[in-house]
């Protein structure tokens, strides 16, 4: 049974209430609700796509960074031979681990928080890598940067799915995004090939400069994940009208550390092994 309620305040929010066992009112998006990312203006959505591409470019730029100046790193740390493969390959190992963590987290706490958090971690380790005392720490810092950097790649796809509900604009956005990943990895060796002649630190400083510049649009990243937008809305309504039993759908899920690990973080693995269609499309 569905009952439509009008929020009495001067707010424009209106919500549909679903009758639950203990009469909790759930916030949902109305038709043509401007809070819904699907109904945002084209220009604003393009801006969000631009932010996603910029953070991805950052991350991918780093992945191929040591390609141009591998011998400089080798000379500085006194490493030769096959070990010089590690700066690139361990970064890619980080790419394997990261999406398994940041993908589900972004669907629990919202895209904005995860993007900001992972970009902050990325920036911190980007600074740290310039002060690495030996090759082992250099490589481990790069592994951690790879984990944080993978967040942009996995979460940006989710952001595009939040923004566009029609397949054609979403496909176009994904095309631009994936081209950026291609360009980023190719641009890095061009830059670092020249910068590498000025010392092993300059390519990573270059990356830090790009990273710092991309923080300027990144702070304007809005929340695009619909359940988190509804959660914020419900909190605002509860704050404005204390005592009202308004709930967001995401609040009905159990919260807690155990729930986070067992349900949210294990979700991709559980889907991989129990859902046949996921398993076979992943092979």
């Amino acid at each position: 049974m569905q009952v439509d309620l009008e929020y009495e305040d001067n707010d424009t929010y209106s919500f549909t209430s679903l009758e639950l066992a203990d009469t909790k009112n759930l916030v949902t998006f109305q038709h043509e609700d401007t809070g819904n990312p699907h109904n945002w203006s084209h220009r604003y959505r393009a801006f969000v796509v631009f932010i996603g591409i910029l953070t991805t470019l950052n991350s991918v730029l780093g992945s191929s960074l040591p390609s141009g100046y591998g011998n400089v790193i080798g000379e500085h740390f006194g490493v030769t031979g096959a070990a010089l493969v590690l700066p690139i390959s361990l970064w890619l190992c980080g790419y394997i681990v990261g999406p398994l963590v940041f993908g589900p987290l972004s669907e629990r706490y919202g895209r904005q928080l995860v993007m900001w958090g992972s970009s902050a971690g990325f920036t911190v380790f980007n600074i740290a890598i310039n002060f690495s005392p030996n090759f082992v720490s250099f490589v481990i810092f790069r592994l951690i940067m790879g984990v944080f950097g993978s967040s942009a790649i996995s979460v940006t796809g989710g952001i595009f799915a939040d923004l566009y509900d029609e397949p054609i604009p979403r496909g176009r956005a994904m095309a631009v995004f994936m081209t950026a990943t291609g360009y980023g990895a190719i641009l890095a060796p061009v830059a670092t090939g020249y910068l590498g002649t000025y010392g092993w630190r300059w390519p990573t400083w270059f990356q830090l400069i790009v990273c710092g510049a991309s923080w300027i649009p990144l702070v304007f990243l809005p929340e695009t994940y619909a359940p988190t937008i509804l959660l914020r809305r419900a909190r605002k309504i509860r704050k404005d009208a204390p005592g009202s039993n308004i709930m967001a759908p995401i609040e009905l899920e159990k919260s807690g550390l155990r729930e986070l690990v067992v349900v949210v973080l294990a979700r991709p693995m559980r889907m991989l092994f129990t859902e046949w269609i996921v398993l076979f499309s992943c092979l």
Binding site: S63, S64, S67, G68, Y69, G70, N71, V72, V85, I88, S89, L92, P167, G171, R172, M174, A175, V176, F177, M178, T179, T181, G182, Y183, A185, I186, L187, P189, V190, A191, T192, G193, Y194, G196, T197, S281, C282, L283
Partner: protein, 122 residues
């Protein structure tokens, strides 16, 4: 880059699987290890010049983007691709060939061809 087209286009039309994607991605990142060996050690490029050799892949990236978005630019991209692989490096190529006695242009074309093969096979 060549994975771009697969990801971006309608997944109903392109049947991808992760194993082949993993293979393609491995080859893509092998370029970053292989280019210094090929262009610096064998052809004697400086590090900066070696980085510029990646421009060929950039054209490919652009073309795959055009193909995936079904725009008319794909014609332009293919033109760029062909000019990069065959035309514009011509004079430099001759010089390098005289100095080092190796077919440089053929080398770039081989890389382009390899990448194109993957683009087509996906």
């Amino acid at each position: 880059m060549f994975i771009v087209s697969v990801y971006a286009s309608d997944s109903n039309r392109y049947h991808i699987n992760t194993l082949s994607l993993a293979f393609v991605y491995a080859i893509y990142y092998m370029f970053f290890q292989a280019f210094p060996i090929i262009y610096v050690d064998i052809y004697g490029f400086t590090m900066g010049q070696e980085g510029l050799a990646f421009n060929s892949s950039m054209c490919l990236s652009h073309s795959s983007f055009s193909i995936s978005t079904n725009t008319l630019q794909s014609v332009l991209a293919l033109f760029l691709l062909s000019s990069c692989g065959c035309g514009s490096t011509n004079t430099t190529t001759m010089l390098w060939q005289e100095e080092h006695g190796g077919p440089l242009r053929k080398n770039i074309v081989v890389f382009l061809w390899l990448a194109l093969q993957h683009l087509c096979s996906l």
